[in-house]
């Protein structure tokens, strides 16, 4: 297999990489670029632990080929905080203890960010449906929902 050369934008930085044609974006991020925030839970698009945002759309990076990313704009969990200042969602997840083992957390944060970008004032039901593609085996989801509600309120300036 000959490698594919890709030039893309990740969290505002121009990044170039060479990857195998059948290599998932998740593997490119983790193994080639050292961006290990996105996690591999299932590898088949069911758990959402590898969630990233490509050109404004939430996707599972395990179901995207690295080769597809040429000219795209990618947002990952590594770009969520502003230097040392956590994103309101990140801070509210801590304040609400919305995580235990933490494997699913980067995916939940990215999915919640994508949800609030489209719907700044979601109902509890909309949050639960919006995050249905992210699985958490520790928290029982309730604290995650409360954290997203609190962050949404904070981000609306309410």
């Amino acid at each position: 297999m000959s490698a594919v050369l890709v030039k893309t934008t990740i969290n505002g930085d121009t990044v170039e990489y060479a990857c195998q044609p059948d290599e998932p974006l998740l593997d490119v991020l983790r193994n080639r670029l050292g961006l290990t925030g996105a996690k591999e839970g299932c590898g088949t698009g069911d758990c959402g632990a590898c969630s990233v945002i490509v050109d404004g759309r939430l996707v599972c990076s395990c179901l995207v080929l690295g080769a597809e990313m040429d000219g795209k704009t990618l947002e990952t969990i590594e770009g969520m905080a502003d230097g040392d200042k956590l994103h309101p969602l990140q801070q509210q997840f801590i304040d609400h203890a919305a995580l235990q083992c933490g494997i699913c957390t980067p995916g939940f944060l990215i999915a919640a960010k994508a949800l609030l970008a489209k719907n700044p004032d979601p109902s509890e039901e909309e949050i639960r449906f919006g995050l249905a593609g992210n699985l958490c085996r520790c928290t029982g989801y309730d604290k995650i929902v409360r954290a997203v509600q609190a962050a949404a309120k904070e981000m609306r300036g309410a």
């Binding site: 594919v4 044609p21 088949t44 698009g45 395990c62 080929l65 080769a67 994508a114 249905a132």
Partner: protein
């Protein structure tokens, strides 16, 4: 494996036709990449069609809507005109998977994957949608119901790809709806599904109807007897009973872990009745 992302449909068809090994189209990849991961498929060539002009666009014209084959389902509900004209189609497409899957998956992919339980397919069939198929020898149009040839198989030939899905313009006083049964509230595969599209006259009498069932046969079914049960009625109880009976009679389902033959056959009638009620209300009937 080779990865190609051609700029034109012609190039894409030529690449697929020329490949001697196994070749697959990549649109959203939510089926293809899962099958590759599971080792069910080992492609020699993957042709990404997303860089072809128009493949990710929804265009509205006097004759209806043209939806590029690589348009992600998440884009469907963002198109206000499409949502207003074909709410049943948009709802069906958006029942597939999670938000993450919606960001990638396509209706054309759903059709070509040819699962009997594909959510968007019954809704497209009820809507009377067509697909534009491009090949090395030119283009042809097919009704959506004529694309699946069996479980996991389509009538598309080597070197052919679906370029777009065409939905007709919405008729005055018409409405469509799609319902599926799943044991959960989301993120599941249809055990039975039904789509209804109907038109009414000024008095509320149904003048035209199409009824499609999913997950009750190897391919999605267009049930003409069920449509006949509706036409000429005001969706009274007798018509609903006839509709349900016709829908159940058309079922040829399998027994599996998700539902028995008896359950699927019975629920098909229930869903047909309920989908018809929603479609009738959307058409402006009371």
């Amino acid at each position: 494996m080779r990865y190609e992302s051609p700029a034109t449909t012609k190039e894409a068809c030529a690449l697929l036709a020329k490949e001697k090994g196994s070749a697959f189209v990549l649109a959203g990849g939510t089926d293809l990449l899962v099958k590759m991961k599971a080792g069910m498929l080992e492609p020699d060539l993957v042709v990404d069609i997303k860089r072809i002009k128009g493949m990710r666009e929804i265009r509205k014209s006097a004759s209806g809507f043209v939806i590029g084959a690589a348009t992600p389902n998440a884009a469907l509900s963002e198109n206000a005109a499409l949502l207003k004209a074909w709410p049943g189609v948009v709802e069906a497409a958006q029942l597939i998977g999670s938000k993450q899957v919606q960001g990638r998956c396509t209706m054309a992919g759903n059709l070509c994957n040819a699962s009997p339980a594909a959510d968007s397919v019954p809704a497209l069939v009820a809507a009377g949608a067509k697909v534009v198929v491009a090949g090395t020898k030119g283009k042809r149009k097919l009704a959506v119901e004529d694309v699946p040839a069996g479980v996991g198989r389509t009538v598309l030939k080597r070197g052919e790809i679906i370029e777009a899905i065409e939905l007709p313009a919405k008729k005055a006083k018409s409405g469509d709806a799609y319902l599926r049964f799943i044991p959960r509230t989301e993120m599941d595969i249809a055990v039975v599904s039904c789509a209804v599209n109907l038109s009414i006259d000024g008095k509320g009498v149904i003048t035209a109807a199409r009824v499609a069932l999913g997950a009750v046969a190897p391919t999605v079914l267009l049930v003409k007897e069920a449509a006949k049960a509706l036409i000429g009625s005001k969706l009274d109880d007798a018509a609903k009973a006839k509709l349900a009976a016709a829908a159940s009679a058309a079922c040829r389902p399998i027994d599996d872990k998700r539902g028995t033959v008896e359950f699927r056959t019975d629920v098909a009638g229930v869903l047909a009745r309920r989908a018809a009620e929603i479609a009738y209300a959307r058409a402006g009937g009371k």
